[in-house]
């Protein structure tokens, strides 16, 4: 972890009081920060998102408190009251200002936060922070099967700068953004405008380029905090170290984004959709997103079926300018369709092999221009559907109240 940061987690039984599972975490900077954030574009935003966006506009955060098991979305005025209560309690226990606390949540929509389970655990959480006890990475997991964290370091003017980042993903993963949380800490000394611009850029090339099921959540939040403990000369926009900083930040986020897709709900494959030769970047993006969202295409990936016909049918209804007779489609570099027809020279067996691994690329060349776009997605499995059939009624039975 970068210098001057600490984290901790406790188990509150937020989703289910009978299960002992980390579900409340805290990340804390012992020093002032400059920070930036990116939040869901969904018009329905959780109370904690509204709160954190506002706080980030008026103060630099020192702490992030985050829970899993309940999204605190669609909970009306009582939802906002609960966010404020949580932030106040954290501030009190850490001896910082309430506006220096950001609040994040992930979990079911439409249920009241069980404050009677959360508040009594705050002193313990603050206490654990001193010993950097327990793993906050685990506390933010919902349907993730693996904790997701990455680290990077680089040098600017002889000073080592560290970046640490954790994330959760799993379902509802779609850009702008996903049900995803990502917290990045760095000890870099960096200007406000540089951290804001670098964050925007890194999010655009990572979390905005992944899609699992096309659903966009109410709670997505990326927060980047920098506390200058590396004692480097301040990195400013276009100044010394800016290139390295941006590269490291982008790489960290991209690695987490890819982990999210690989660990998507009941996903068996990480698929990169690479479009080139489109009239424009926007056309290329339309094609990539339409292919990545097509249920029929995703089902065929799940079945190791090199079904380029479904890919081209999705290209056809993407809304992009397309000429059927100039479309080439590749599976992991193997030509499957050429000029809109089957590429007879590639043996079926090789194509099947190409789409049977845990990771492959679908290459699409429209041969109409220079527009390019790529994104990361996954297959659709019967198990995904099984997994997502029941939630609301089950959550109610576990003692959550509707918000």
């Amino acid at each position: 972890m970068p210098r001057g940061f600490r984290s901790a987690a406790v188990s509150c039984g937020i989703k289910n009081p009978d299960v002992d599972r980390l579900d409340l975490g805290l990340i804390f900077s012992k020093f002032p920060t400059v920070s930036a954030g990116a939040f869901t574009q969904n018009a329905v935003r959780a109370a904690c998102v509204e709160y954190s966006v506002r706080n980030l506009a008026k103060a630099e955060p020192r702490a992030i408190v985050v829970n899993s098991g309940n999204a605190n979305a669609c909970t009306g005025p009582s939802g906002m009251r609960d966010v404020r209560l949580t932030a106040r309690e954290v501030a009190k226990n850490l001896g910082i200002l309430q506006r220096e606390v950001l609040v994040c949540s992930t979990g079911i929509i439409g249920m009241e936060m069980p404050m009677d389970r959360i508040l009594p655990n705050m002193p313990d959480l603050a206490e654990k922070l001193k010993r950097a006890d327990e793993d906050v990475t685990r506390a933010i997991m919902t349907s993730d099967t693996k904790p997701k964290s990455v680290a990077a370091k680089f040098k600017v003017g002889g000073k080592e700068i560290r970046i640490g980042a954790i994330a959760k993903g799993a379902g509802m993963i779609n850009p702008n953004m996903a049900t995803m949380l990502c917290f990045v800490t760095t000890d870099a000394h960096v200007s406000k405008s540089e951290i804001q611009s670098a964050t925007r850029e890194a999010v655009e090339d990572s979390f905005n380029r992944i899609t699992i099921d096309g659903d966009t959540s109410t709670n997505d939040s990326v927060i980047v905090m920098a506390n200058h403990r590396a004692e480097n000369r301040m990195i400013t926009k276009g100044g010394a170290g800016s290139g390295l900083f941006r590269q490291a930040l982008s790489e960290v986020m991209l690695r987490l984004a890819r982990k999210m897709v690989s660990d998507g709900e009941r996903v068996t494959k990480l698929v990169t959709v690479c479009v080139r030769g489109a009239r424009s970047k926007s056309d290329a993006e339309k094609v990539a997103r339409t292919v990545a969202h097509s249920s029929l295409v995703k089902c065929s990936w799940n079945g190791n079926d090199p079904n380029w016909g479904r890919v081209i049918h999705a290209i056809g209804y993407s809304g992009a300018r397309v000429r059927e007779e100039t479309v080439d489609i590749y599976f992991d570099g193997l030509l499957a369709a050429q000029n809109g027809m089957t590429a007879k020279k590639t043996p079926l067996k090789e194509l099947v092999k190409a789409v049977s691994g845990p990771e492959f690329t679908v290459g699409i060349d429209l041969h109409l221009g220079k527009g390019e776009y790529s994104l990361y997605t996954a297959d659709l499995s019967p198990e995904y559907v099984e997994f997502n059939r029941e939630e609301y009624a089950a959550a109610k039975q576990k003692g959550l109240k509707s918000g």
Copy 2:
């Protein structure tokens, strides 16, 4: 069947030569017709669609020849040659002009039409027509589990007018349009402009309002043929009988559209999404389509889970103007969410019951204006994914050649 029409079907083994299954059908009018059509909006269109669109522009059809098992899409120049060969053979056997023949196909994309299996069966098909032998409704089925046909009649000036219609649907069902074929025959005497306008209107309120998996096919075709054998006074736009004709045509298509959704691939529920109170009709449509396409929403329907939280999250990312605090959501008339929060007065048990039947309505009121839109959709089942995992490699093994 309306007077003056006949149909027949034969088995050619198009998809699999070892299986005896009706897969080539013919619909024929003994008399000249006035006709109209509506075709897929996918930029990648099957050869037969290109051909039929062109023919319909220059002549009034007397016959429709249709096959299942192969879409003849993405088959290049040889695909178009096969369509022409098929039309010529039909014309020869029926003693009509080639341009009076429309050709439709449904099935896998990217495979050559097995003309060696189709052409030898043409004389037999024409022969069967005389005896109105076998059911063309069955010949157009692909993954449909039930044949779909409806009929209607009404009187204009004392003359009885009959309408008969058949359709196939199942997968790739999405407006503008679906992998769906629909053939309507009527003995009405009707003007060209009236049949064109009535067809547009009926398609808009039926097939363009259904969605199963959000995929739009390369082959969708609706064809309406009228042969004036009812001997009524000609129905013209706005003239006597026009209202009744349009009503009957719309009703026939809507009944078929609903049958298509109910019989969608491995679907367990027919769900009507009704949006009102939007700023505009276009906003209402955005909301309805986004809710109907959300994988997570569809999974919850499959699990009998009255998960209004997932519905509101989809509303939120629909792109329509939305204020969370004015959104009401109903399941079959029962209030599930009010003002963007849970409607506490409705017992969970009743909500679960409402979404557990084979058919229910999701009502959404945005309380922002007068825009309304509704459409028909279905749940997403694990079995849908299972069913759609394998196709391409399997088809190749059944002896179809890539186009």
